[in-house]
Amino acid sequence: MSRNCKQLEQQYGIPAVGSSASNIIKYAHGHDFLYTNGSPIRYIAFPFPVAGQPQSVHHKYVFESRDVVSGKPMMQAFIDALTAPLTASEKYKGPAPDPDPAESRFLGPDTEENLQRLFKELDYTDYLPIILPTEERVADMLKGTSRRPDEVIKVLDWPGGRREVTVERVAICAVMAGAKVEYLPVILALANHIPFGNSTSSMANMILVNGPIREEIGMNSGHNVMGPHNEANATIGRAYTIMSKTIGGLHNKLTTWSTLGSTMQYNNVCIAENEEAMPPGWKPFHVQAGFKPNESVITVATGWSYISSVTEAKREYPVHMWMADYMKALTMGSATIIMDPTVAELLKDTYGFASKEQLGKWFAENVEKTNYASGQKVKPFREASVNIIVTGGGGQTTWFVTDFMMSRNMVLAGGSTSIDDWR
């Protein structure tokens, strides 16, 4: 929104006003202005919520309510935003008059107890104890890659501030998360995807690892793959959160405004695919995405929710039809289905799905939702927007339907990245 306003004003000389609900106006006036946009855009802010309200409420917002920013009647505020002469600060062009906030390379010296407390006060952690990143520990961690510590992986332009993601900062976060040295290439590849998804809704992320590195670092793709039972899965997933908060600058009510948040953000559903247990003809996810089977790849997906089958497969309720029923509950036109290898075998051997693609096509053709406003039936999925992940220990025919968007229709920082490039 602010980007479009700025473009209209700067490229075309058209006065533009931004509008938001009151829930994010502080962010628009604050962090977005200072670190991302730089244009003192005039906003009007409607009462919250806007979405999902009946027309009568919107009528009241426009005809009777006051603008949350100026306190004026809403439409008067809009007219003034387009006609009131510019102030001196609105005419200012040049470097930001305020100095950039400083960040020292080191923190301390202080006691471990005080430093643990400091990291919490700075909101640098997930509020679980961390391993303090001493120079020695970070130097050891950097032995996990051939890359130089000062190499810049990317510069973050969202949520702004032109923050440099360096190899050393990623290693610092890996230490904090409790990761082993051999996990660093995975975490460096993951750093290409920070910060993680962020919205006023409960956006969350999923991390999928494919290829030989799963075995090399001992990732779990078997029993309890999604549970707290493996060091690599646990600490790599945690590192994503710590990187997103520290390097990425995501802080509550400053740059992240999710009203409920998500417990998935503690570990980011960090899993490995059980490629060895895939039925013949079913390809691992990274191969579907265009990588070679012997390449190690990390894929980051953005989503919100997942629904469990709860119990085992039932003859009277074929799993693909059961999944399709669950998929009707998803709202973003994208799905990732996580299934145990026994479910994949069932789908192939009993129901005849020779490949993941064939199953995705069936979902695209058969999942139908009703638009209750129009009464129309809609098919919200495409074959390419349905992803299938096979993982788990083969101990029960269970599965999850999720709304995670993977590489082929990613939003925000999603997509697949080679891990081998970061060894």
Partner: protein, 122 residues
């Protein structure tokens, strides 16, 4: 028995002293956070003298679906019709996601419009 007890107390005492000494030791750690750099300021474009007779584009960024911005914009259009009938309102929706660039839409606004409202974010 007494000797064993003394040894045990001594061991506990030494562990406690060592732990206290360790926790009191001051260490220096690396800061994971890079500095934020503020962006350069750019001025707003001059405002209009009045909205009378002007064309205003109300742009829906797609957040919240059909019953968010489109519904509010319908009310805004009705307000102008009632209170400032010389103002012409055009409603548009962004193409795809609001995170994508919108060159065609912005060009259209520049060619046909005098001002714009972009939203509603929430």
């Amino acid at each position: 028995m007494t000797g064993k007890r003394c040894s045990a107390f001594l061991a506990i005492f030494l562990i406690a002293v060592c732990s206290a000494a360790y926790s009191a030791e001051k260490i220096r750690v690396l800061n994971p956070t890079p500095p934020n750099r503020m962006v350069d300021r750019v001025p707003l474009t001059p405002r209009l003298d009045s909205l009378e007779g002007k064309t205003i584009f109300l742009v829906d960024i797609g957040w919240g679906g059909e019953n968010a911005a489109p519904s509010v914009y319908e009310e805004m259009k009705a307000w102008f019709a009632q209170n400032m009938p010389s103002v012409k309102i055009e409603v548009r929706k962004v193409k795809g996601s609001y995170m994508q660039e919108q060159p065609e839409l912005l060009k259209e606004i520049s060619e046909k419009g005098d001002a714009a409202l972009i939203g509603i974010a929430g």
